[in-house]
Protein backbone atom coordinates (compact mmCIF):
# COMPACT_ATOMS: atom_id res chain seq x y z
CA UNK A 1 0.00 0.00 0.00
CA UNK A 2 1.42 3.32 -0.97
CA UNK A 3 1.64 6.22 1.39
CA UNK A 4 -0.99 8.03 -0.59
CA UNK A 5 -3.47 5.20 -0.34
CA UNK A 6 -2.85 4.89 3.36
CA UNK A 7 -3.44 8.53 3.78
CA UNK A 8 -6.55 8.50 1.65
CA UNK A 9 -8.15 5.72 3.67
CA UNK A 10 -7.31 7.32 6.98
CA UNK A 11 -10.50 9.24 7.23
CA UNK A 12 -12.82 6.32 6.73
CA UNK A 13 -10.84 3.64 8.52
CA UNK A 14 -11.58 2.93 12.13
CA UNK A 15 -8.62 3.22 14.40
CA UNK A 16 -7.91 3.09 18.09
CA UNK A 17 -5.21 5.67 17.84
CA UNK A 18 -6.72 8.96 18.82
CA UNK A 19 -4.12 10.96 16.92
CA UNK A 20 -5.15 9.38 13.67
CA UNK A 21 -8.84 9.96 14.03
CA UNK A 22 -10.32 12.35 11.55
CA UNK A 23 -11.17 15.48 13.39
CA UNK A 24 -14.61 16.79 12.68
CA UNK A 25 -14.58 20.50 13.06
CA UNK A 26 -17.44 22.74 12.24
CA UNK A 27 -16.27 26.10 11.05
CA UNK A 28 -17.20 29.03 13.23
CA UNK A 29 -20.55 30.06 11.93
CA UNK A 30 -21.93 33.49 12.51
CA UNK A 31 -25.14 32.78 10.62
CA UNK A 32 -26.55 30.00 12.79
CA UNK A 33 -30.01 31.43 13.29
CA UNK A 34 -30.54 32.44 9.70
CA UNK A 35 -29.40 29.03 8.51
CA UNK A 36 -31.77 27.31 10.89
CA UNK A 37 -34.79 29.42 10.06
CA UNK A 38 -34.29 29.47 6.34
CA UNK A 39 -33.92 25.72 6.25
CA UNK A 40 -37.55 25.42 7.35
CA UNK A 41 -39.90 24.86 4.47
CA UNK A 42 -42.51 27.51 3.93
CA UNK A 43 -45.37 25.17 4.88
CA UNK A 44 -44.23 25.40 8.48
CA UNK A 45 -46.00 28.72 8.66
CA UNK A 46 -49.26 27.13 7.51
CA UNK A 47 -48.83 24.15 9.81
CA UNK A 48 -48.31 26.59 12.67
CA UNK A 49 -51.41 28.51 11.76
CA UNK A 50 -53.40 25.31 11.47
CA UNK A 51 -52.44 24.23 14.99
CA UNK A 52 -53.45 27.59 16.36
CA UNK A 53 -56.65 27.43 14.35
CA UNK A 54 -57.60 23.99 15.59
CA UNK A 55 -56.32 24.24 19.16
CA UNK A 56 -59.47 25.77 20.64
CA UNK A 57 -61.48 23.07 18.95
CA UNK A 58 -59.33 20.35 20.48
CA UNK A 59 -59.23 21.98 23.86
CA UNK A 60 -62.82 23.18 23.91
CA UNK A 61 -64.04 19.97 25.53
CA UNK A 62 -63.28 21.33 28.96
CA UNK A 63 -64.13 24.97 28.29
CA UNK A 64 -67.12 26.93 27.31
CA UNK A 65 -65.35 28.58 24.37
CA UNK A 66 -66.11 27.37 20.90
CA UNK A 67 -63.75 27.59 17.98
CA UNK A 68 -65.76 30.39 16.42
CA UNK A 69 -65.83 32.38 19.60
CA UNK A 70 -62.05 32.18 20.15
CA UNK A 71 -61.44 33.15 16.57
CA UNK A 72 -63.87 36.00 16.82
CA UNK A 73 -61.98 37.31 19.83
CA UNK A 74 -58.58 37.00 18.15
CA UNK A 75 -59.83 38.68 14.98
CA UNK A 76 -61.23 41.53 17.02
CA UNK A 77 -57.86 42.18 18.64
CA UNK A 78 -55.70 41.52 15.62
CA UNK A 79 -55.53 45.09 14.28
CA UNK A 80 -54.41 46.38 17.67
CA UNK A 81 -51.90 43.57 18.13
CA UNK A 82 -50.35 44.15 14.73
CA UNK A 83 -50.53 47.91 14.30
CA UNK A 84 -49.93 48.93 17.89
CA UNK A 85 -47.99 45.95 19.16
CA UNK A 86 -45.91 44.41 16.44
CA UNK A 87 -45.19 47.77 14.83
CA UNK A 88 -43.58 48.83 18.10
CA UNK A 89 -41.45 45.69 18.05
CA UNK A 90 -40.26 46.68 14.60
CA UNK A 91 -39.63 50.28 15.66
CA UNK A 92 -37.63 49.02 18.65
CA UNK A 93 -35.67 46.66 16.42
CA UNK A 94 -34.84 49.44 13.92
CA UNK A 95 -33.58 51.87 16.53
CA UNK A 96 -31.70 49.12 18.36
CA UNK A 97 -29.96 48.13 15.15
CA UNK A 98 -29.18 51.73 14.27
CA UNK A 99 -27.63 52.54 17.64
CA UNK A 100 -26.02 49.10 17.97
CA UNK A 101 -24.45 49.36 14.53
CA UNK A 102 -23.03 52.86 14.90
CA UNK A 103 -21.65 52.10 18.36
CA UNK A 104 -20.51 48.64 17.25
CA UNK A 105 -18.52 49.97 14.30
CA UNK A 106 -16.59 52.35 16.52
CA UNK A 107 -16.10 49.70 19.17
CA UNK A 108 -14.87 47.28 16.50
CA UNK A 109 -12.44 49.90 15.23
CA UNK A 110 -11.36 50.44 18.82
CA UNK A 111 -10.51 46.76 19.03
CA UNK A 112 -7.99 47.06 16.21
CA UNK A 113 -6.65 50.42 17.39
CA UNK A 114 -2.91 50.88 17.63
CA UNK A 115 -3.37 52.64 20.96
CA UNK A 116 -3.16 49.97 23.63
CA UNK A 117 -5.56 51.51 26.20
CA UNK A 118 -8.21 52.01 23.51
CA UNK A 119 -7.78 48.46 22.32
CA UNK A 120 -7.98 46.90 25.77
CA UNK A 121 -10.96 49.05 26.83
CA UNK A 122 -12.86 48.16 23.67
CA UNK A 123 -12.07 44.50 24.22
CA UNK A 124 -13.37 44.61 27.79
CA UNK A 125 -16.57 46.40 26.77
CA UNK A 126 -17.18 43.89 24.00
CA UNK A 127 -16.57 40.90 26.27
CA UNK A 128 -18.83 42.27 29.02
CA UNK A 129 -21.79 43.04 26.78
CA UNK A 130 -21.46 39.96 24.59
CA UNK A 131 -21.53 37.67 27.57
CA UNK A 132 -24.17 39.28 29.77
CA UNK A 133 -27.76 38.07 29.93
CA UNK A 134 -29.85 40.43 27.82
CA UNK A 135 -32.62 40.64 30.36
CA UNK A 136 -30.22 41.77 33.08
CA UNK A 137 -28.88 44.50 30.80
CA UNK A 138 -32.45 45.53 30.01
CA UNK A 139 -33.36 45.78 33.69
CA UNK A 140 -30.25 47.79 34.49
CA UNK A 141 -30.88 50.31 31.73
CA UNK A 142 -34.63 50.44 32.40
CA UNK A 143 -34.26 51.11 36.11
CA UNK A 144 -31.16 53.26 36.11
CA UNK A 145 -32.01 55.52 33.21
CA UNK A 146 -33.80 58.75 34.09
CA UNK A 147 -37.39 59.31 33.02
CA UNK A 148 -36.51 62.76 31.91
CA UNK A 149 -33.48 64.30 30.30
CA UNK A 150 -33.00 68.04 30.46
CA UNK A 151 -31.12 69.47 27.59
CA UNK A 152 -30.48 73.18 27.41
CA UNK A 153 -33.35 74.01 29.74
CA UNK A 154 -35.98 71.89 28.00
CA UNK A 155 -37.05 68.56 29.43
CA UNK A 156 -37.50 65.49 27.33
CA UNK A 157 -39.42 62.53 28.59
CA UNK A 158 -37.66 59.31 27.71
CA UNK A 159 -40.32 56.79 26.73
CA UNK A 160 -40.02 53.27 28.13
CA UNK A 161 -39.59 51.74 24.69
CA UNK A 162 -36.60 53.95 24.03
CA UNK A 163 -34.92 52.81 27.21
CA UNK A 164 -35.57 49.29 26.01
CA UNK A 165 -33.81 50.22 22.78
CA UNK A 166 -30.72 51.26 24.72
CA UNK A 167 -30.82 48.06 26.76
CA UNK A 168 -31.06 45.88 23.66
CA UNK A 169 -28.52 47.93 21.73
CA UNK A 170 -25.76 47.10 24.22
CA UNK A 171 -25.40 43.39 23.41
CA UNK A 172 -26.08 44.08 19.73
CA UNK A 173 -23.32 46.68 19.74
CA UNK A 174 -20.85 44.22 21.24
CA UNK A 175 -21.67 41.54 18.69
CA UNK A 176 -21.46 43.95 15.78
CA UNK A 177 -18.10 45.11 17.09
CA UNK A 178 -16.95 41.51 16.77
CA UNK A 179 -18.27 41.31 13.21
CA UNK A 180 -16.40 44.51 12.31
CA UNK A 181 -13.20 43.34 13.97
CA UNK A 182 -13.35 39.98 12.20
CA UNK A 183 -14.03 41.60 8.84
CA UNK A 184 -11.12 44.03 9.21
CA UNK A 185 -8.82 41.19 10.21
CA UNK A 186 -9.92 39.19 7.16
CA UNK A 187 -8.51 41.76 4.74
CA UNK A 188 -5.05 40.56 3.62
CA UNK A 189 -2.13 42.46 5.17
CA UNK A 190 -0.89 43.22 1.67
CA UNK A 191 -3.70 45.74 1.35
CA UNK A 192 -2.41 47.58 4.40
CA UNK A 193 1.16 47.51 3.15
CA UNK A 194 0.24 48.71 -0.33
CA UNK A 195 -1.79 51.56 1.12
CA UNK A 196 0.97 52.46 3.59
CA UNK A 197 3.56 52.51 0.84
CA UNK A 198 1.36 55.02 -1.00
CA UNK A 199 1.60 57.33 2.02
CA UNK A 200 -2.04 56.96 3.10
CA UNK A 201 -2.56 57.73 6.77
CA UNK A 202 -3.94 55.04 9.05
CA UNK A 203 -7.43 56.52 9.20
CA UNK A 204 -7.50 56.99 5.43
CA UNK A 205 -6.49 53.34 4.99
CA UNK A 206 -9.20 52.21 7.38
CA UNK A 207 -12.09 54.27 6.00
CA UNK A 208 -11.23 54.39 2.31
CA UNK A 209 -9.50 51.09 1.64
CA UNK A 210 -10.14 48.48 4.32
CA UNK A 211 -13.72 49.12 5.44
CA UNK A 212 -15.20 49.46 1.92
CA UNK A 213 -13.79 46.00 1.20
CA UNK A 214 -15.32 44.60 4.40
CA UNK A 215 -18.88 45.79 3.98
CA UNK A 216 -19.96 42.88 1.82
CA UNK A 217 -18.50 40.44 4.31
CA UNK A 218 -20.30 42.13 7.18
CA UNK A 219 -23.80 42.30 5.71
CA UNK A 220 -24.90 38.65 6.18
CA UNK A 221 -23.82 38.34 9.86
CA UNK A 222 -25.20 41.80 10.48
CA UNK A 223 -28.61 40.77 9.14
CA UNK A 224 -28.42 37.59 11.17
CA UNK A 225 -28.00 39.70 14.28
CA UNK A 226 -30.95 41.81 13.25
CA UNK A 227 -33.13 38.70 13.15
CA UNK A 228 -31.83 37.45 16.51
CA UNK A 229 -32.46 40.80 18.13
CA UNK A 230 -35.90 41.25 16.59
CA UNK A 231 -36.96 37.92 18.02
CA UNK A 232 -35.66 39.05 21.39
CA UNK A 233 -37.76 42.23 21.42
CA UNK A 234 -40.67 40.59 23.35
CA UNK A 235 -38.25 40.55 26.31
CA UNK A 236 -39.17 44.17 26.83
CA UNK A 237 -42.75 43.17 27.67
CA UNK A 238 -41.38 42.12 31.06
CA UNK A 239 -40.60 45.77 31.58
CA UNK A 240 -44.07 46.93 30.67
CA UNK A 241 -43.42 48.27 27.19
CA UNK A 242 -46.67 47.79 25.32
CA UNK A 243 -45.39 45.76 22.38
CA UNK A 244 -46.97 42.69 20.82
CA UNK A 245 -46.66 40.27 23.73
CA UNK A 246 -47.70 42.83 26.35
CA UNK A 247 -50.75 43.73 24.32
CA UNK A 248 -51.61 40.07 23.76
CA UNK A 249 -51.58 39.51 27.50
CA UNK A 250 -53.71 42.59 28.12
CA UNK A 251 -56.18 41.53 25.42
CA UNK A 252 -56.56 38.11 27.02
CA UNK A 253 -57.11 39.72 30.39
CA UNK A 254 -59.80 41.91 28.89
CA UNK A 255 -61.45 38.76 27.53
CA UNK A 256 -61.61 37.10 30.93
CA UNK A 257 -58.29 35.29 30.98
CA UNK A 258 -59.68 32.11 29.56
CA UNK A 259 -56.96 29.44 29.11
CA UNK A 260 -58.23 28.51 25.66
CA UNK A 261 -57.09 31.91 24.45
CA UNK A 262 -53.44 31.33 25.37
CA UNK A 263 -52.38 29.22 22.43
CA UNK A 264 -54.19 31.23 19.76
CA UNK A 265 -52.89 34.57 21.03
CA UNK A 266 -49.28 33.63 21.68
CA UNK A 267 -49.30 31.39 18.63
CA UNK A 268 -50.39 34.38 16.59
CA UNK A 269 -47.38 36.31 17.94
CA UNK A 270 -45.11 33.42 16.93
CA UNK A 271 -46.52 33.37 13.42
CA UNK A 272 -46.00 37.11 12.98
CA UNK A 273 -42.39 36.92 14.15
CA UNK A 274 -41.73 33.94 11.94
CA UNK A 275 -43.34 35.62 8.93
CA UNK A 276 -41.15 38.67 9.50
CA UNK A 277 -37.85 36.91 10.12
CA UNK A 278 -38.18 34.14 7.53
CA UNK A 279 -37.61 36.36 4.48
CA UNK A 280 -34.75 38.11 6.29
CA UNK A 281 -33.08 34.77 6.97
CA UNK A 282 -33.52 33.67 3.35
CA UNK A 283 -32.11 36.95 2.08
CA UNK A 284 -29.18 36.68 4.50
CA UNK A 285 -28.19 33.29 3.14
CA UNK A 286 -28.72 34.42 -0.42
CA UNK A 287 -26.38 37.37 0.07
CA UNK A 288 -23.89 35.20 1.91
CA UNK A 289 -23.81 32.79 -1.03
CA UNK A 290 -23.48 35.56 -3.59
CA UNK A 291 -20.67 37.33 -1.74
CA UNK A 292 -18.68 34.15 -1.10
CA UNK A 293 -18.69 33.23 -4.77
CA UNK A 294 -17.51 36.69 -5.72
CA UNK A 295 -14.65 36.82 -3.26
Amino acid sequence: MSVLQKHGSLVSQKTDLPVLKAVKTRPMDDLGLSRWISRMPLWVIFAFSAVILLWPGLASAQTAYSLEKVWGILLKWMPLLVFKGFVLNIVISFFTMLIGTVAGVFLGLGQVSQVYPVRIMSWIIVQVFRNSPWLVLLFIVMLSFPFEISFGGTHFTVPGWFKAVIGLALPVMANIAEIVRGAIRSVPTGQWEAAESLAFSRSQIMWQIILPQCIKRMIPPWMNWYAIMTMATPLVSLLGVSELVTLSRQAMEAEGNNPSLLVPFYGFALVIFFAYCYPIARLTLLLEKRFTIKL
Binding site: A194, E196, S197, L198, A199, F200, P212
Partner: protein
Protein backbone atom coordinates in the same frame (compact mmCIF):
# COMPACT_ATOMS: atom_id res chain seq x y z
CA UNK B 1 15.13 65.33 12.39
CA UNK B 2 18.50 64.88 10.80
CA UNK B 3 17.66 66.28 7.45
CA UNK B 4 21.08 67.36 6.36
CA UNK B 5 21.69 69.15 3.12
CA UNK B 6 21.34 66.70 0.33
CA UNK B 7 22.24 67.28 -3.27
CA UNK B 8 21.96 65.02 -6.26
CA UNK B 9 25.63 64.15 -6.25
CA UNK B 10 25.22 62.24 -3.01
CA UNK B 11 23.67 58.78 -2.83
CA UNK B 12 19.87 58.95 -3.01
CA UNK B 13 19.64 55.92 -0.74
CA UNK B 14 22.42 55.25 1.72
CA UNK B 15 22.33 52.13 3.84
CA UNK B 16 24.91 51.71 6.57
CA UNK B 17 25.43 48.69 8.78
CA UNK B 18 21.71 47.90 9.02
CA UNK B 19 20.67 45.32 11.58
CA UNK B 20 17.23 43.82 11.88
CA UNK B 21 15.91 40.92 13.88
CA UNK B 22 12.60 39.20 14.41
CA UNK B 23 12.79 38.18 18.04
CA UNK B 24 15.96 36.14 18.43
CA UNK B 25 16.38 35.65 14.72
CA UNK B 26 18.73 38.19 13.22
CA UNK B 27 17.85 38.56 9.53
CA UNK B 28 20.08 41.50 8.62
CA UNK B 29 23.53 41.46 10.18
CA UNK B 30 25.09 44.71 9.12
CA UNK B 31 24.23 45.50 5.52
CA UNK B 32 25.67 48.57 3.78
CA UNK B 33 25.35 49.98 0.28
CA UNK B 34 24.71 53.22 -1.56
CA UNK B 35 22.43 53.89 -4.48
CA UNK B 36 23.06 56.86 -6.74
CA UNK B 37 20.26 58.75 -8.44
CA UNK B 38 19.18 57.00 -11.64
CA UNK B 39 20.90 53.75 -10.74
CA UNK B 40 19.26 50.35 -11.01
CA UNK B 41 20.22 47.99 -8.21
CA UNK B 42 19.33 44.31 -8.09
CA UNK B 43 19.47 42.38 -4.85
CA UNK B 44 19.63 38.63 -5.35
CA UNK B 45 20.16 35.72 -3.07
CA UNK B 46 18.56 32.57 -1.66
CA UNK B 47 15.15 32.64 0.03
CA UNK B 48 15.23 33.82 3.59
CA UNK B 49 18.42 35.79 3.17
CA UNK B 50 16.68 39.02 4.15
CA UNK B 51 16.36 40.64 0.70
CA UNK B 52 12.69 41.57 1.00
CA UNK B 53 13.11 42.65 4.59
CA UNK B 54 15.90 44.96 3.53
CA UNK B 55 13.92 46.86 0.92
CA UNK B 56 10.86 47.03 3.18
CA UNK B 57 13.06 48.89 5.66
CA UNK B 58 13.80 51.57 3.07
CA UNK B 59 10.22 52.90 3.12
CA UNK B 60 9.77 52.13 6.81
CA UNK B 61 7.29 49.28 6.33
CA UNK B 62 9.64 47.42 8.65
CA UNK B 63 11.77 48.99 11.36
CA UNK B 64 15.43 48.31 11.96
CA UNK B 65 17.27 47.71 15.21
CA UNK B 66 20.62 49.19 14.30
CA UNK B 67 22.48 51.14 11.67
CA UNK B 68 21.21 53.87 9.42
CA UNK B 69 19.15 54.23 6.28
CA UNK B 70 19.05 57.60 4.58
CA UNK B 71 16.77 58.53 1.72
CA UNK B 72 17.75 61.85 0.16
CA UNK B 73 19.62 62.67 3.33
CA UNK B 74 16.59 61.90 5.50
CA UNK B 75 17.28 59.37 8.25
CA UNK B 76 14.64 56.59 8.18
CA UNK B 77 15.76 54.97 11.43
CA UNK B 78 14.34 57.76 13.54
CA UNK B 79 11.41 57.74 15.97
CA UNK B 80 10.36 61.20 14.84
CA UNK B 81 10.39 60.19 11.19
CA UNK B 82 7.46 61.50 9.16
CA UNK B 83 6.70 58.20 7.48
CA UNK B 84 4.13 59.71 5.13
CA UNK B 85 6.64 62.25 3.79
CA UNK B 86 9.19 59.47 3.25
CA UNK B 87 6.68 57.27 1.43
CA UNK B 88 5.77 60.10 -0.93
CA UNK B 89 9.34 59.87 -2.19
CA UNK B 90 9.65 56.09 -2.25
CA UNK B 91 7.28 53.97 -4.32
CA UNK B 92 6.90 50.24 -3.81
CA UNK B 93 5.56 47.35 -5.86
CA UNK B 94 4.79 44.02 -4.23
CA UNK B 95 4.91 40.39 -5.19
CA UNK B 96 1.14 40.01 -4.75
CA UNK B 97 0.29 43.28 -6.60
CA UNK B 98 -2.09 44.30 -3.76
CA UNK B 99 -4.37 46.40 -5.94
CA UNK B 100 -7.45 47.64 -4.13
CA UNK B 101 -10.11 45.19 -5.30
CA UNK B 102 -13.04 47.58 -4.87
CA UNK B 103 -11.57 50.19 -7.24
CA UNK B 104 -11.05 50.14 -10.99
CA UNK B 105 -7.56 50.25 -12.49
CA UNK B 106 -7.85 53.98 -13.07
CA UNK B 107 -9.24 54.64 -9.57
CA UNK B 108 -6.42 52.56 -8.08
CA UNK B 109 -3.91 54.86 -9.76
CA UNK B 110 -5.71 58.12 -9.02
CA UNK B 111 -6.59 57.48 -5.40
CA UNK B 112 -3.30 58.30 -3.68
CA UNK B 113 -2.38 61.47 -5.65
CA UNK B 114 -5.86 62.88 -5.00
CA UNK B 115 -6.27 61.85 -1.37
CA UNK B 116 -2.67 62.03 -0.18
CA UNK B 117 -1.03 64.68 -2.36
CA UNK B 118 -4.32 66.63 -2.69
CA UNK B 119 -3.67 67.23 -6.37
CA UNK B 120 -6.54 68.37 -8.62
CA UNK B 121 -8.53 65.49 -10.05
CA UNK B 122 -8.31 66.55 -13.70
CA UNK B 123 -4.53 66.77 -13.58
CA UNK B 124 -4.22 63.40 -11.83
CA UNK B 125 -6.55 61.76 -14.32
CA UNK B 126 -4.46 63.00 -17.22
CA UNK B 127 -1.32 61.64 -15.61
CA UNK B 128 -3.00 58.34 -14.70
CA UNK B 129 -4.12 57.79 -18.28
CA UNK B 130 -0.62 58.56 -19.52
CA UNK B 131 0.80 56.08 -17.02
CA UNK B 132 -1.64 53.38 -18.08
CA UNK B 133 -0.45 53.95 -21.62
CA UNK B 134 3.14 53.76 -20.49
CA UNK B 135 2.60 50.37 -18.84
CA UNK B 136 0.72 49.30 -21.98
CA UNK B 137 -2.63 49.01 -20.26
CA UNK B 138 -4.68 51.53 -22.19
CA UNK B 139 -8.29 50.44 -22.61
CA UNK B 140 -8.36 48.76 -19.20
CA UNK B 141 -9.10 51.94 -17.22
CA UNK B 142 -12.45 50.71 -16.00
CA UNK B 143 -11.54 47.09 -15.31
CA UNK B 144 -11.53 45.88 -11.73
CA UNK B 145 -8.41 44.05 -10.52
CA UNK B 146 -10.38 40.79 -10.41
CA UNK B 147 -10.91 41.05 -14.16
CA UNK B 148 -7.21 41.44 -14.97
CA UNK B 149 -4.49 38.81 -15.26
CA UNK B 150 -1.61 38.76 -12.80
CA UNK B 151 0.75 40.50 -15.20
CA UNK B 152 -1.84 43.17 -15.99
CA UNK B 153 -2.52 43.73 -12.30
CA UNK B 154 1.18 44.08 -11.63
CA UNK B 155 1.54 46.67 -14.39
CA UNK B 156 -1.35 48.65 -12.93
CA UNK B 157 0.36 48.39 -9.55
CA UNK B 158 3.52 49.84 -11.06
CA UNK B 159 1.52 52.69 -12.61
CA UNK B 160 -0.22 53.27 -9.26
CA UNK B 161 3.11 53.65 -7.56
CA UNK B 162 4.49 55.92 -10.30
CA UNK B 163 1.46 58.19 -10.07
CA UNK B 164 2.88 59.46 -6.78
CA UNK B 165 5.91 60.66 -8.76
CA UNK B 166 8.42 59.03 -6.44
CA UNK B 167 12.17 59.52 -6.62
CA UNK B 168 12.97 55.89 -5.85
CA UNK B 169 11.06 52.73 -6.76
CA UNK B 170 11.29 49.51 -4.77
CA UNK B 171 10.35 46.24 -6.44
CA UNK B 172 9.85 43.28 -4.12
CA UNK B 173 9.99 40.09 -6.22
CA UNK B 174 7.37 41.55 -8.51
CA UNK B 175 7.41 38.68 -10.99
CA UNK B 176 7.56 35.83 -8.49
CA UNK B 177 3.80 35.24 -8.50
CA UNK B 178 3.34 35.51 -12.25
CA UNK B 179 2.98 32.96 -15.04
CA UNK B 180 6.14 32.61 -17.13
CA UNK B 181 4.38 34.18 -20.13
CA UNK B 182 3.38 37.31 -18.24
CA UNK B 183 6.72 37.80 -16.50
CA UNK B 184 8.12 39.35 -19.64
CA UNK B 185 5.50 42.07 -19.97
CA UNK B 186 6.20 43.24 -16.43
CA UNK B 187 9.96 43.14 -16.94
CA UNK B 188 9.63 45.21 -20.12
CA UNK B 189 7.72 47.82 -18.12
CA UNK B 190 10.45 47.98 -15.49
CA UNK B 191 13.11 48.17 -18.18
CA UNK B 192 11.34 51.17 -19.75
CA UNK B 193 11.26 52.78 -16.36
CA UNK B 194 14.97 52.21 -15.79
CA UNK B 195 15.70 53.63 -19.23
CA UNK B 196 13.79 56.78 -18.24
CA UNK B 197 16.27 57.29 -15.42
CA UNK B 198 14.15 56.17 -12.48
CA UNK B 199 16.15 54.99 -9.48
CA UNK B 200 15.13 51.37 -8.95
CA UNK B 201 15.96 48.89 -6.22
CA UNK B 202 14.81 45.42 -7.15
CA UNK B 203 14.70 42.15 -5.29
CA UNK B 204 14.49 39.55 -8.01
CA UNK B 205 15.07 35.99 -9.04
CA UNK B 206 15.20 36.85 -12.72
CA UNK B 207 18.93 36.55 -13.33
CA UNK B 208 18.79 37.29 -17.04
CA UNK B 209 16.83 40.44 -16.32
CA UNK B 210 19.19 41.51 -13.54
CA UNK B 211 22.11 41.07 -15.85
CA UNK B 212 20.44 43.15 -18.53
CA UNK B 213 19.13 46.14 -16.58
CA UNK B 214 21.12 46.37 -13.36
CA UNK B 215 23.96 48.81 -12.89
CA UNK B 216 25.03 46.97 -9.80
CA UNK B 217 24.22 43.61 -8.29
CA UNK B 218 24.25 42.72 -4.61
CA UNK B 219 24.23 39.11 -3.50
CA UNK B 220 22.93 38.56 0.02
CA UNK B 221 23.10 35.40 2.02
CA UNK B 222 22.35 34.82 5.66
CA UNK B 223 21.83 38.51 6.43
CA UNK B 224 25.00 39.93 4.91
CA UNK B 225 26.10 41.12 1.48
CA UNK B 226 28.44 38.42 0.33
CA UNK B 227 29.48 39.88 -2.97
CA UNK B 228 28.60 42.75 -5.24
CA UNK B 229 29.65 44.27 -8.50
CA UNK B 230 28.52 45.29 -11.96
CA UNK B 231 26.56 42.51 -13.71
CA UNK B 232 29.31 41.31 -16.03
CA UNK B 233 31.89 40.98 -13.27
CA UNK B 234 29.37 39.52 -10.88
CA UNK B 235 27.94 36.86 -13.15
CA UNK B 236 31.08 35.91 -15.01
CA UNK B 237 33.76 36.26 -12.38
CA UNK B 238 32.09 35.52 -9.06
CA UNK B 239 34.71 35.23 -6.34
CA UNK B 240 32.89 33.96 -3.27
CA UNK B 241 32.08 30.26 -2.93
CA UNK B 242 28.50 30.97 -1.78
CA UNK B 243 27.86 33.17 -4.81
CA UNK B 244 29.26 30.50 -7.10
CA UNK B 245 27.12 27.83 -5.48
CA UNK B 246 24.00 29.99 -5.78
CA UNK B 247 24.63 30.96 -9.37
CA UNK B 248 25.47 27.35 -10.16
CA UNK B 249 22.06 26.27 -8.90
CA UNK B 250 20.07 28.96 -10.58
CA UNK B 251 21.72 29.44 -13.97
Amino acid sequence: MTNTQWDEGQPIVSIKNVRKSFGDLEVLKGVSFDVQKGEVICIIGPSGSGKSTLIRCINALADIQGGSIQVEGQEVHDDDLDKLELRKKVGMVFQQYNLFPHKTALQNIMMAPIKVLKQPKAEVEKRALALLKKVRMEGKENSYPGELSGGQQQRVAIARSLAMQPDVMLFDEVTAALDPETVKEVLVTIKDLAADGMTCILVTHEMGFAREVADHIYFTDNGVIVEHGPPTTFFDHAQDERTKAFLGQIL
